[in-house]
């Protein structure tokens, strides 16, 4: 019965709920530690690479790291909103990134870039609305809702376009955007940082951001305080969708091509970056800036492994270990402070 009256998707396991009162004091310390943790990890990794890996500290290589980081980073920054709102993740970013990329190139080839972007925005809003309504209004489980919208979305994209590769004119504006650099920084990377800063501002300084965070840490209290929770959830999913769309633009612009399989694995890769950054998958705790750090960390690690000639299997194993390690450190630190 109690299960029925509370909302259907409360995700925090019971021990965490018990700790909630300690959370207030523990939060600052653990947040500090987790922040320092990922910061120290990243710094140590970069230092290690700079000393031992030939060519790591070179302009082109730093550009590569940023090129790796930008599209997935923008997606992850947006998905942070869904995670912090306590809804696990948005699996449908896979479909959204691919759709945005294909729409940008295919539609702009037929008409113009603004029209293509407009179409993509409409699609992104539709994704945000469908996911958000199903999760926020119907209180359906976010994993299954976004799983089904992934199926539907990718199915529709492939039904409409087949699996064809679309590529833009080699002297077009999309190509120019993808190739432009300011100093060592690809334009995409600057966009990633700007998006992160904007989203970070939204999450920390606006009422909407406050509602997302408080909804994630205690949704029942948020509901009782009179906040209209469906709108918070719809908002969080819409932010994610818009970011996924931008990520799709950046990915398509970087290679000037788009194909429906271009974003395979973006769902769990984005989540991995968010978690490595130290955002809690229980919701409530975390920040967009941490996601930035997490994305940079994973990109640097992958870069190091490719530079060292390690195979794909080892790369996957290292990323898996890293996720568990990063979170273990955080959990053990919290245990130590909580006890």
């Amino acid at each position: 019965m109690t299960n029925d009256t509370s909302t259907g998707t409360v995700s925090a396991p019971k021990p965490a709920a018990l700790e909630e009162k300690l959370e207030e004091q523990a939060f600052k310390l653990s947040a500090w530690m987790a922040n320092q943790g990922i910061f120290i990890f990243t710094a140590a990794l970069i230092l290690f690479a700079a000393v031992f890996i030939d060519g790591f500290v070179s302009l082109p290589n730093i550009t590569d790291v940023f090129n790796r980081a930008a599209p997935i980073g923008i997606v992850a920054a947006g998905m942070t909103f869904v995670v912090i709102s306590g809804n696990y993740l948005d699996l449908s970013v896979v479909a959204q990134v691919a759709t945005a990329g294909v729409v940008l190139i295919a539609v702009s080839n037929e008409t113009s870039i603004p029209v293509a972007m407009l179409v993509a925005v409409v699609i992104a809003l539709a994704y945000g609305l469908v996911n958000g309504v199903a999760v926020g209004v119907f209180k359906a489980n976010a994993v299954i809702v976004t799983l089904s919208t992934t199926f539907i979305g990718l199915g529709l994209l492939r039904w409409a376009t087949g699996g064809s590769i679309y590529f833009g004119p080699s002297d077009g504006a999309i190509r120019a955007f993808g190739a432009t650099r300011i100093g060592p920084l690809p334009l995409a990377m600057i966009l990633f940082v700007v998006v992160t800063l904007i989203l970070s501002f939204v999450l920390t300084r606006t009422t909407f951001g406050f509602m997302v965070r408080s909804f994630g840490s205690n949704r029942e209290a948020t509901r009782l305080s009179g906040v209209s929770t469906p709108w918070v959830v719809i908002g969080a999913f819409t932010v994610t969708s818009l970011a996924a769309m931008l990520g799709g633009f950046v990915l398509a612009a970087f290679s000037n091509t788009a194909v429906s399989a271009m974003s395979d694995g973006y769902d769990f890769r984005a989540l991995a970056a968010i978690i490595v950054g130290g955002t809690s998958v229980f919701g409530g705790r975390g920040s967009v800036l941490r996601t930035l750090l997490g994305v940079v960390f994973v990109s640097v690690l992958t870069n190091i492994m490719v530079l060292s000639g390690l195979g794909f299997g080892i790369q996957q194993m290292a990323i898996g270990l890293l996720i568990v390690l990063a979170v273990s450190v955080d959990a053990l630190a919290r245990k130590a402070t909580g006890a």
């Binding site: 030939d54 990718l154 699996g163 970087f254 000639g309």
Partner: protein
């Protein structure tokens, strides 16, 4: 056992309907009953009568979800319609277990023939023996089976994926012309059969015919331009731009990424030896403008069409041999020829 009985009942029903139809209206009855009882047409030629209509299952690992499959399907379907073949197409998305299950479905529905494009070459023997036990002939398209499984298949049509890697390597050997050169290698999706075959085809040919070409580094590019571009750029950093004289990528999409990576490093692709496979809409212009030295034409329409042609030859009892797509090497000399016009 119950199954067999029900199929028997179905057959009787079909026979009865044919009789009734023949008694009533002479001509169109046969067509009607063939349509209505499509499920019961049996492997041993029961359905293949006057109109020569055949039911064929095509078990493919890709379709409208990949660039190649998207342009493979329409010619296949068109040819099937022309030859009176009723195609049922499945797509396992390169999942061996899904394809095995698709195969069970296909065998159970008793088509006249199965066209198989193995998702994972090593895993299809059980499917072949199940079809064999049911008396359903199997032809292979696109990627041939292992030699030891060959006796369970009628014939193969398609490109020789190993041979494509080898052909690309031969272009590379010609380009190197005996000089000691170093290249970087970008492969397809890790674990994918085509990726594995092309990689070994290229590597083994290099080792055999021009050991003066050294593969300095290799990474997967996942058939994607962007992944390949970053991986190539990182490999350039790892081995040093001055040591690199060229590159090989397992398809044209990825080689386009490699070329962009070179350009971003101020290395002129025209001065480098670069080869690939595909001759696609993306790759062909790169050959024409000199940045890509050579690629190997893979025609998706040839592949799709001949899968059905071969199946039809088997069904009509003609003696058949393997149909190999010619591995035409496309270089600056012939890139603008109409017979190597890109298709996908």
């Amino acid at each position: 056992m119950q199954m067999r009985r029900s199929r028997l009942v179905g057959l009787f029903a079909a026979g009865a309907m044919v009789l009734v139809a023949c008694g009533g209206a002479a001509d169109d009855g046969a067509v009607d009953s063939a349509d209505a009882e499509g499920d019961t047409t049996d492997a041993d030629g029961g359905g293949a009568t006057d109109g020569e209509e055949f039911d064929v299952f095509a078990l493919l690992p890709q379709g409208n979800d990949q660039p190649y499959g998207t342009t493979y399907l329409p010619p296949m379907e068109a040819k099937a319609a022309e030859l009176g073949i009723n195609l049922t197409i499945t797509n396992s998305q390169y999942d061996a277990d899904t394809q095995a299950s698709d195969c069970e479905v296909a065998v159970a529905s008793r088509p006249d023939l199965i066209i198989l494009w193995p998702a994972v070459g090593d895993t299809i023997r059980p499917c072949l023996s199940a079809a064999d036990a049911a008396g359903i002939p199997v032809t292979i398209t696109n990627s041939d089976v292992n030699p030891e499984d060959k006796d369970l298949t009628e014939a193969f049509s398609g490109p020789d994926t190993y041979g494509q890697g080898a052909a690309s390597a031969e272009i590379m050997c010609d380009l190197a012309g005996g000089d000691e050169i170093g290249i970087i290698m970008v492969n397809g999706l890790t674990g994918n059969s085509t990726a594995i075959n092309r990689e070994s085809g290229f590597e083994e040919t290099i080792e055999a015919e021009c050991p003066n070409v050294t593969i300095l580094a290799r990474q997967p590019g996942d058939w994607n331009k962007d992944d390949s571009q970053i991986a190539a750029s990182e490999m350039i950093t790892a081995v040093g731009a001055e040591n690199i004289d060229g590159a090989y990528a397992a398809d044209d999409t990825m080689v386009a990424g490699v070329i962009d990576a070179f350009i971003a490093r101020d290395m002129d692709p025209a001065d480098l030896y670069i080869t690939s496979i595909g001759n696609t809409f993306l790759g062909n212009p790169l050959v024409s403008d000199g940045s890509l030295d050579g690629t190997v034409f893979q025609s998706s329409s040839w592949d799709g069409e001949n899968a059905v042609v071969l199946a039809h030859e088997v069904l009509t009892g003609q003696a058949v041999e393997d149909l190999f797509m010619p591995s035409v090497k496309v270089t600056a000399d012939n890139a603008d020829d109409p017979d190597v016009a890109p298709e996908w």
